[in-house]
């Protein structure tokens, strides 16, 4: 018998994988139970509800994400270095929590309307403040271009990074650091050859 918290984590990993692959709504509790080698009803010994599963998946992920982000933001780096560190950290999270990230991308918008998932909206807000603030600081300090709509830039960088969760496969060609490096190179310097 595996100790309880370990089993929980395993089951959540299974659930996350299925949620990510099929979407939260389209995923049946029975499917998760099948994957875990038990019957649907048995999952309710471990979790209150299907909703509490996705809740735990997302909050665990966000907790870890913010641990990493907070460290970066507290380091007192310059805007460009901060962006570089945030992007790198993001790809590391995608590497570690790919299913959770994918779920977050697909489901957070409509989950956030429920009180239980208010923290999703909060996180989004804080997230935007951190990134957008850094970008603005970069423009002020003359390291980023000032001829672009800054909100557009923000969305551009944000989406660019996170959508990667939809195709990223851990253990693939490039590790998260190498992907981060190339992404940063594109975002910062563009893909056109300078003449």
């Amino acid at each position: 018998m595996t100790p309880t918290p370990e089993r929980r984590r395993e089951l959540l990993a299974t659930a996350a994988e299925v949620f990510a692959a099929q979407g939260y709504n389209a995923t049946t509790v029975r499917r998760i139970a099948d994957e875990a080698g038990m019957l649907a009803g048995s999952l309710y010994y471990h979790f209150d509800s299907k909703e509490s599963m996705i809740d735990e998946i997302l909050s665990t992920f966000l907790d870890e994400l913010w641990q990493g982000y907070d460290e970066v933001l507290a380091a007192g780096l310059g805007p460009r270095e901060t962006i570089e560190a945030l992007v790198t950290e993001s790809f590391r999270e995608i590497d570690r929590h790919r299913p959770a990230v994918a779920i977050y991308q697909k489901e957070s918008k409509h989950l956030a309307t429920q009180p239980r998932f208010a923290y999703l909206a909060d996180s989004q807000t804080t997230f935007e403040k951190a990134w957008l603030g850094t970008l603005e600081r970069g423009v002020t300090e003359g390291v980023f271009r000032d001829d672009l709509d800054i909100r557009l830039t923000y969305r551009f960088v944000r989406d660019t990074v996170w959508v990667a969760a939809s195709w990223y496969r851990p253990g693939g060609h490039h590790g998260p650091e190498e992907i981060a490096r190339q992404y940063l190179s594109m975002v910062l310097d563009g893909i056109a050859l300078r003449t």
Copy 2:
């Protein structure tokens, strides 16, 4: 009373809006009917099934998209100009078919496994060929950088463009052409200030 094909289009527009907002699975037929001011069963006078609604929405969108793309690809432009034209055309499609694009983003992966939606996979393949091919030509001809993983670059550009459908609102601050211009500027030249 509007004539038949007009009514169909209206109903599909309504359905697309709801599908985009809530996700295909989470959308009930009743919700669409409510929005259209009729009863759930009445929709079945116009459409065979919920599935045939999303089918018609997606195929109509893809038909129009490829009409635009084919024109661009047939124009014999250089790689950079082709990318510029494709990006601009894409934002125009997002402007015209935002709900359809959003649905496509969220649902096409799992829909494509059904035979009925095989055309989604086909489209994806052709799409990749066109974009990736153009990028490769650009590298060969020395207009795009050659120090980047080309597949990564492809995904970067592709996602950059299409994720916009998730936040784009027609009639907003910038029109599609202006957004395309700024996106292209970022993608091609980067956001860092050149020194």
Copy 3:
């Protein structure tokens, strides 16, 4: 434009054909309308309801059947000749009203429970009285065997005749009179060779 009563009869013939082929419940009004080259709603110009269609089909058939039977029963024939005449008349009805007979076989039992179709039960009762009475008379008069359960004999003869509607095709190998002849020969004399 065909005159109204003619059109009614045509439509009822179409309906009967479909009812017989698919069963009353399994037949949709739309299917009948398709077969008749009109839309489902249009049938309601001619008939009150689906139920009134089967009602008219069955009552028309029973009216004709009893016209024939009453003539036979009024003719004052002996028991054997009466049975022969009833069987022959029955096969003629099958020939003329095959769909109606088939419908009657399949549906009358559960339709008869509704007040509207009380005449089905009445007809059944009168039918049984006529046939069973004739058989009993035959036993009494020494033309039919007396070592058989008379009710069993009745069901045997009755079923033997009417089930034919399930496979009979007008215009086939044998006409109704020839089939009646052979059936009577089997029922009266058996299929075993007499030694």
Copy 4:
């Protein structure tokens, strides 16, 4: 609590009773559930669909029928004795599986068109081969009359036997063997008194 396979059988018996009484199409899943003392949805824990219920009912019946028939056919009896044994066996099956037989009579024709129920058509074919073949052998060997259309004779005997399911009630006046005896007496020797 009864063990699982027992419960299945009970539920199928209930379903068969209702299907036989009301017809497959006219029977609602809810009605079956009511009769079984549960909610409609609960049936789906035991069966995939309404269709799979009738499937299991019919295939179980046919399996048993053919077990009996195969024994008879393998016994190497003469034509008359074979017919006698088949008829007797048939009435035994009606006694044991009355609802299944009734369902088979009413529904097999239109079910057989679906691939899932192809075995119904197969069974019909084999059935005809066995009975018709036996009758033909009987004519050749001089135990059955040769002045009758043999296919007509076949239908006559076949229908005569199986329609009995529509009125037969287990535990009634005569047991299946007695009914078989009288039926055979009528079929073989006729109902007319020999002079």
